[in-house]
């Protein structure tokens, strides 16, 4: 591990503890948006509602995002083994899968927009776009972080023994994935099931 871990009271690196604390806060952030979405599930103002979702398509992009957690773990694992070449490869793979997911989201938004669902259309639409949009923004920030990590390993700023940096970005990335699991279930799947029932 890195500097001074044995000197901290809890034996945990400050940065790692800080990241966990921050992610605790982020759960409340998405929690509030998800609550608002659930509140407005039926408030469609005559426009399209949950029936607009294309579950198979979103399932595939969700699968891609979930698999990116696997490559993130592999990247961290490679970094702890000081195998920077493989670490960089898995980092790129993770960022790439994040990009595929984002592309899927942009495509999905475009389709919805063409079918008459837009931000200003109804509280349901606002809730959907802002919630999933903020998740997309988190993915985008994650991709930026991954690409920065990639470049900084090339310049030598991130060294082979600093696997903590990969671990921290990994924590963030896994968090974004977990939030998507919740969003996909609550926003897409459960309303879809309720509609069919």
């Amino acid at each position: 591990m890195t500097a001074g871990v044995h000197e901290t009271t809890l034996g945990l690196d400050h940065r790692k503890l800080g990241m966990w604390v921050f992610l605790g806060s982020e759960f409340l952030f998405f929690g509030a948006f998800v609550s608002a979405y659930i509140l407005y599930l039926d408030t469609t103002a005559g426009g399209p509602g949950v029936e607009i979702f294309d579950i198979p398509f979103t399932s595939i992009s969700s699968f891609v995002l979930l698999m990116s957690s696997l490559t993130m773990v592999l990247a961290h694992n490679a970094h702890t083994r000081r195998d920077m070449r493989r670490m960089r490869m898995w980092i790129l793979a993770t960022a790439g899968q994040g990009a595929v997911f984002l592309g899927g989201q942009i495509f999905e938004f475009t389709v919805f927009y063409k079918e008459g669902l837009n931000l200003t259309q109804s509280p349901f639409a606002s809730g959907f776009f802002v919630l999933t949009g903020f998740h997309g923004l988190h993915v985008f920030v994650g991709i930026l972080l991954l690409l920065s990590l990639y470049s900084l390993t090339l310049t030598g700023k991130v060294k082979p023994d600093q696997d903590l940096k990969t671990e921290m970005i990994g924590l963030y990335w896994h968090f974004v994935d977990i939030i998507w699991v919740i969003i996909f279930t609550v926003v897409y799947l459960i309303p879809d099931l309720l509609m069919e029932a």
Binding site: T9, S25, F33, Y40, T43, S122, S126, V130, F134, K157
Partner: protein, 651 residues
Amino acid sequence: MSQSTPTTSRRSVFSRPRAEKGFTSWITTTDHKRIGIMYFFTVLVFFTLGGAESGVIRAQLAQAEMDLVTAEIYNQVFTMHGLTMVFLVVMPFGAAFFNYLIPLQIGARDVAFPRLNAFSYWMYLFGGIFLYSSFLLGGAPNGAWTGYAPLALDGVSNMAFYAIGLQLLGVSSLSAAVNFIVTILNMRAPGLTFMRMPMFIWMSLVTNFLLLFAMPIIAVALFMLQFDTVFGAQFFNPATGGDPILWQHLFWLFGHPEVYIMILPAMGIVSEILPVFSRKPLFGYAAVAFAGAAIGFIGFGVWAHHMFTSAIGPVARSAFALSTMFIAVPTGIKIFNWVFTMWGGKLRFTTPMLFSIGFVSMFTIGGLSGVTHAVVPHNAQQHDTYYVVAHFHYVLFGGALFALIAGVYYWFPKVTGRLMSEKLGRVHFWTWLLGFNLTFGPMHMSGLLGQPRRTAVLPAELGGTVELYNLLSSLGVVVLAVSALVFLFNLIASIRAGAASGPDPWDARTIEWLSESPPKHYNFAEIPVVSHRDEFWHRKYAEDAAGQPVAVPAGGSEDHVTAEAAAHGEGDHDGHHIHMPDPSYWPLVMCLGFFPVAYGLLGPTPWLIGLGVVWVIIGFFGWIIEPVAEGDDDDPIVEDPAAPRSGVAAH
């Protein structure tokens, strides 16, 4: 601060700044003490502005049917008064104490993330400047600090400034919360277990957890408001089925914990001061600590008592009435413990002690009127009357502000090495107490007689009694203004020429007084090892057979090494071997980028947002790339003093 980086590498844009004196050293500082001082002086400026706004309010309401200012100006002024006092005065006043005291009281040399700490300060300052710039850019927010929808959605309400400005301040609070939580959990001196922590540290920990969990909720509410006002989203628009009550829920789910965010630091300060001037340990230490934690938990379950007159239904009203009454229990526990701390003690009525006693008494009055709000029918009568204004000023002014000022008097010698004038301090206290009660006491009565809040004129139909109460309130503000000037004069005069305080002017109990006054930038030459609660007291006193404190002769205790002795001892202890975080200008650079983002979001103006985002990202990269000259966060080889330092500065 950069003594131990000799000129090994060439300077570049990424080199850490080196100034130790002057303007540059302040804007690049990462020293928690300097940041705390900057917080304090910024708070003074905003307090003056907020106070001036209250002067306008009281001048307008001094008599019935006055038209000193227009209703539009009045609405802007009372909204900004609320926003200023909550977000730009009381909260950052608490943060000033967190910054200065947390590392000193836990025996650390700085906070966990020094640059993030600077970042928090700049976000606070710029958030405040952004909010106040609204006066020049078409008018300040005028929809009250609660920003209720759908009023806040109205184009004339200027609430976009509110939505974005509070967002900036939220980023400041959130980053500070992460920083302080990690600092308290992870940087305590050896032996400083949870149950030995000074009570201020306990209350800071609870407060920062409250911030951590409350800030994202207001962020969501503000984003929704922002999307509604700027991008035409429909969250709170009843026309398409949007629910304004959702705003109230989200706002108060943040807003009520916010109340405890403002009061818990004050409670922590008082819990430090009362034992010192009673010459007794804090009565019921564990009870006070756990009562604070209990307030933190229950504080998230009482929010709807702000909404008893909104459409939330009888079940919710009953449940929240009960939880609201319940939260009075831990608060009451604290008040009794403070009283028992003083009971039988050798009381010294210094200025900090007077303000602390003032806090306990005034806060109790505010707490009792708070319990009356928990009774739903009673609440319905009081809702939106001056009775509510009286209540929350008794807890926030009579409570939080009294304790924060007590803290200023108490720790002033720590920060400056000088004492504030006790004589002027007493004048300040008694005029402050008188002015405060004269201003806010009558509001209980005028409120119960039906005077509504947030109205730009005092209606004559309320009658002569209400008018008299309002006149008294306005006179009270004059007394408060005079009192504030006394304080300001005392502060400036004492900074310039106060009597030297020595290292321990109050016969204090906690380890921040082990360091010099003012502390060296590394705080402690040697990190103290803590073996007791009230560690500093136990280093000074032993107990005789009857349990009375007996002074330990200097050097009599084996661990009795004062910082001063150590600092002036061998060359090894002169602090030069201590690796302190270097200054950095990247927090400032990064924060400046939020200006274009914030102004761009008002329009929205995409190119301005783009410029700001790019600026912030550049600042972020500068932050990452700048060399870690002193191993403050990622240099793995500082353990070995023989290791070449130049290798660190090279990358």
